[in-house]
């Protein structure tokens, strides 16, 4: 039982390190702003703490959420948090897609109007 928990703990710690290293690397490359660095570093630190002391955190959650078993509360909260995150990413993705389409459309219409003006100028000059 203890080994199982240790295994899960190790996975949690590994994910926390992965997030931390990736965040740092992306910030170095200039693809992450300072705000992103702070947010994701905080997430990785929190994940690290929870993975390292799951029972302490679970007990605290059990009291806070009024759910009998602390680990159940932790799982439930993690699951709900993931759903919220997925929904947020979905909405952001939709918005980004819409902005890309708007941009592509504006460029297409602008280029066509420039081309039309050129054609008109050519025709006028010929006359």
């Amino acid at each position: 039982m203890e080994l199982q928990i240790l295994g899960i703990q190790l996975v949690g710690i590994a994910i926390a390190f992965l997030i931390a290293f990736e965040t740092r690397a992306l910030h170095k490359k200039g693809r992450f702003k300072r705000k992103d660095l702070i947010i994701w570093s905080t997430v990785s630190i929190m994940l690290f703490i929870v993975a390292l002391f799951p029972l302490t955190f679970a007990n605290f959650l059990s009291i806070f959420t009024d759910i009998g078993r602390g680990l159940d509360a932790l799982m439930l909260l993690g699951l709900l948090g993931s759903y919220a995150l997925i929904f947020h990413v979905y909405i952001r993705n939709q918005e980004t897609q819409r902005q890309i389409t708007d941009l592509v459309r504006k460029v297409a219409i602008r280029l066509d109007s420039v081309e039309t003006k050129k054609q008109i100028t050519k025709t006028v000059k010929k006359k």
């Binding site: 939709q94 819409r98 459309r105 219409i109 081309e115």
Partner: protein
């Protein structure tokens, strides 16, 4: 014909058919504006369309049928079109059908006209069976959700008055645009009329567009309709 009629032709990698499509349209309507929306094609679609002396609006990256139609309709409205016809670039439609399509709008009897492939049973036999099934299902769902009674919600041959075109706010980028258009026309209480048209399917056209992955595209359109109905998608 006093109204300014413009054509919107979305095209994605249509080098094999775009010239013939444009020649057919120009033969029937030589003096009208034609807007080809080259939706990020990686073949010679842009070059070939430009050589035909029409407006070519180029999407620098592929954004899908809905995005291309919206670009074309916006450009046509900006150029002062009174009547806008959307026309496929895959040789599926006949230029001569457009006369019958625009007539009710010119006469003030309708705000939008849809070319229906389902009104003539004889011509319908040309449509691949899987496409026929999918179209029937999607049209049924569209009618329920948009409160309309049309027979072919997925037709690419449509005509709009300027007023109807200005009210269209196309937000879907992909194939679900056909249902979205019907949905919006219904929502704005626009008068929709259907005109029987002949659709031509050859070996090439049955391998393109929604025919490429009919089940996947069909489910995607259906899913999009459900999201729009429950308000998650505009």
């Amino acid at each position: 014909m006093n109204e300014k009629l413009s054509f919107v032709i979305p095209a994605y990698n249509e080098e094999e058919s775009v010239v013939q499509t444009l020649k057919d349209v120009k033969r029937q309507f030589p003096k009208n504006d034609i807007f080809v929306v080259n939706d990020g094609s990686v073949d010679r679609t842009q070059e070939l369309a430009e050589a035909q002396g029409v407006h070519v609006l180029t999407h620098v990256i592929n954004r899908g049928l809905g995005a291309a139609l919206s670009t074309g309709i916006q450009a046509a409205v900006l150029h002062g079109a009174d009547l806008i016809v959307t026309f496929d670039a895959d040789l599926q439609h006949l230029g001569k059908d457009v006369y019958r399509l625009i007539k009710p709008i010119q006469e003030g009897k309708a705000d939008a006209a849809i070319g229906s492939r389902f009104m003539s049973k004889k011509d319908l036999e040309m449509m691949p069976r899987v496409k026929r099934f999918g179209n029937t299902l999607l049209t049924g769902m569209t009618n329920i959700m948009a409160d309309t009674t049309i027979t072919d919600s997925q037709s690419g041959l449509r005509a709009f008055s300027r007023e109807a075109a200005e009210k269209l706010m196309i937000l879907c980028d992909k194939y679900e645009v056909s249902s979205e258009i019907i949905h919006q026309l219904g929502h704005h209480n626009m008068r929709i009329i259907e005109i029987p048209i002949k659709a031509i399917y050859d070996d090439r056209s049955v391998k393109r567009g929604t025919n490429q992955m009919p089940w996947k595209n069909g489910f995607h359109i259906l899913w999009s309709m459900i999201l729009r109905t429950i308000g998650v998608k505009k």
